[in-house]
Symmetry: C2
Subunit: 349 residues, 2 copies
């Protein structure tokens, strides 16, 4: 079994630097397109056999060192009681947008094995089908990033409604966040119970805050989830599952982020990874941080960047190679295959 990824998460020495890629099961892959051509996105998420199939594709095609559950961060939001649709151009649309007490009150904290059973079923299938080839990563959105979609009713440019709620109705925001945090905690526990061997919390929009607001309005809820998962695992005496915390724009927030309690910190590409390590502390295990659009470079130039990131990241206790954000659909997939090979070759110890 290739457990290099899990070893790196724990800061243990590895024979090479493991790599996986955010959105590695996605539209840039012709094999994914074939499956997606038959069903819409939400149906794909909710059909365990198909979700498992696209989860495994990048393991076969790219030879990455971890599989990540194919799903969407808005699945638990739908399970909380909101109506979720994906529109081709606009992206996700959630109704009704959560902006008052009444709407918050109507949201539930769902039992994941009831309302999101298809996710746990996907994980159970995957653990069988992967048969130990590579570890399986589960995930959820972080509470703040999840909240932005609920408050805005979808994606946003400047998160006006979210920040307006935070700044004008902090108690309403906190009651919403309590429900989201409880939901995501149970959801991640259920994923771990079903077989996820690591989990990643995606705080894609965490970077829209000043450091002090980030700490109060985003990070505190992440810390609570991680703390609760650790306590639960201690009580269950199960092997601790590494937690990865990814924030979309980390550069100004790293001194706060380092207190998250996560085992691994995901770093975006807008900062040199050695600079990020300095700010997180040398004891950090980091994940990142190639610009996803650098995959449009000629392969010789991609190779230079791979070597540069590997060398800069050598100051950390552990390094998992990844992009600084999800791979984009237009990416030449042969460059993604080449990237994985380069990371493996140049990091061989």
């Amino acid at each position: 079994m290739n457990d290099t990824f899990l070893k790196a998460c724990r800061g243990e020495k590895t024979d090479f630097t493991p790599i996986w890629i955010m959105r590695q099961a996605g539209r840039y892959l012709p094999d994914y397109q074939k499956v997606r051509g038959k069903v819409d996105f939400l149906t794909l998420c909710k059909t365990p056999e198909l979700a498992a199939e696209v989860t495994i594709q990048p393991i076969d095609i790219l030879k990455v060192d971890a599989a990540i559950l194919f799903s969407d961060i808005l699945i638990p939001v739908e399970a909380m009681g909101m109506n979720l649709e994906f529109h081709e151009k606009q992206g996700p649309v959630l109704t009704p947008a959560v902006r008052d007490e009444n709407t918050v009150k109507k949201l539930s904290v769902p039992d994941p094995e009831d309302k999101m059973r298809f996710v746990m079923d996907t994980i159970r299938i995957l653990r069988k089908e992967l048969a130990g080839r590579v570890p399986l990563i589960g995930f959820s959105g972080a509470p703040f990033t999840t909240a932005t979609y609920m408050i805005e009713g979808g994606t946003s440019k400047n998160f006006l409604n979210t920040k307006r709620m935070i700044f004008q109705s902090p108690e309403l925001y906190s009651s919403l966040m309590d429900k989201i945090t409880a939901t995501l905690t149970e959801y991640l526990k259920a994923q771990i119970r079903a077989g996820a061997q690591a989990v990643q919390l995606f705080d894609t929009w965490g970077g829209i805050f000043s450091p002090q607001d980030f700490k109060v309005y985003a990070l505190s809820y992440v810390k609570k989830i991680i703390h609760d998962i650790r306590d639960w695992q201690k009580a269950e005496r199960s092997e601790p599952v590494p937690v990865i915390y990814f924030v979309g724009e980390t550069a100004g927030l790293l001194e706060e982020i380092k207190g998250s309690g996560a085992d691994v910190h995901g770093v975006d590409w807008r900062i040199d990874i050695d600079d990020a390590i300095r700010r997180l502390g040398n004891n950090a295990v980091v994940q990142g941080n190639l610009d996803p659009l650098a995959l449009f470079l000629p392969q010789s130039k991609i190779e230079q960047r791979v070597k540069d990131i590997l060398s800069r990241a050598s100051s950390a206790r552990g390094h998992i190679f990844n992009l600084g954000h999800g791979v984009v659909p237009e990416t030449p997939f042969e460059n993604v295959i080449a990237l994985v090979e380069m990371v493996h070759r140049h990091s061989k110890r």
Copy 2:
């Protein structure tokens, strides 16, 4: 005359911390709405009397310490030969998008007093009407941010076309940037000649780069503009006009940004300003950095943040208070008025 802003730009001691606000002449002001109700946005930019009128409004209403020319960063792009329209929801639309050699070749480097005379006329009116009450800031987009609009044909989410050109056709990008840089240099010189007493370069999208790409593909052109303006001013033996360089997401890039040659560095709100000063060096003069959406807070909370920023920024050689980005249209304008008063009161020395 209130020359506090200019003194602060030069790093000289001032009696209080000067403040102006990005997009201070804008939709959040009822007086602006009145003028804008009569004409469309582009007509407003191109009618010197009206542009001067809305430029002066925030001086009267807010009591800010500098006026900034009312205009748009895409005015020089239209003058270079592209078709520019503003659509109500979509924002600016530029056609045809610049993506090949042929389209770059067709672009001109316009004579600003010919193709953008209305801007210089606005400045000339303003200097008369302001009569020394506060200094007048001129501006342009920085070359990279200007290029993104030309390549994408408008705004963008992930700047795919821009980065694709940079990474796949670096020579095409550089030929485009040479024309943009020449245009903006002449444009800024013309603004200074017409009476602008400081100029700001807006690199709103500079933060989408890794530090190394930022240096090569954005900063190098900014350095060239600043260098050329300085040389020209030396040759003309005119009093040096301070240059402010604002980047949209600075946190990961500050070590690069400090080499820009600008007198003042604008900092967005995603980093603590004392942290930014440490990274820029204590000799820096900084401008910033309240989160624009923090203006939705109750005034007592705004006041706490004002005091915090003033105190953190005291380690710099000079500080000009501003938001970390433009004020948004939905902002309660009475809070903007209060902000200016608070900055003045709490910084009185």
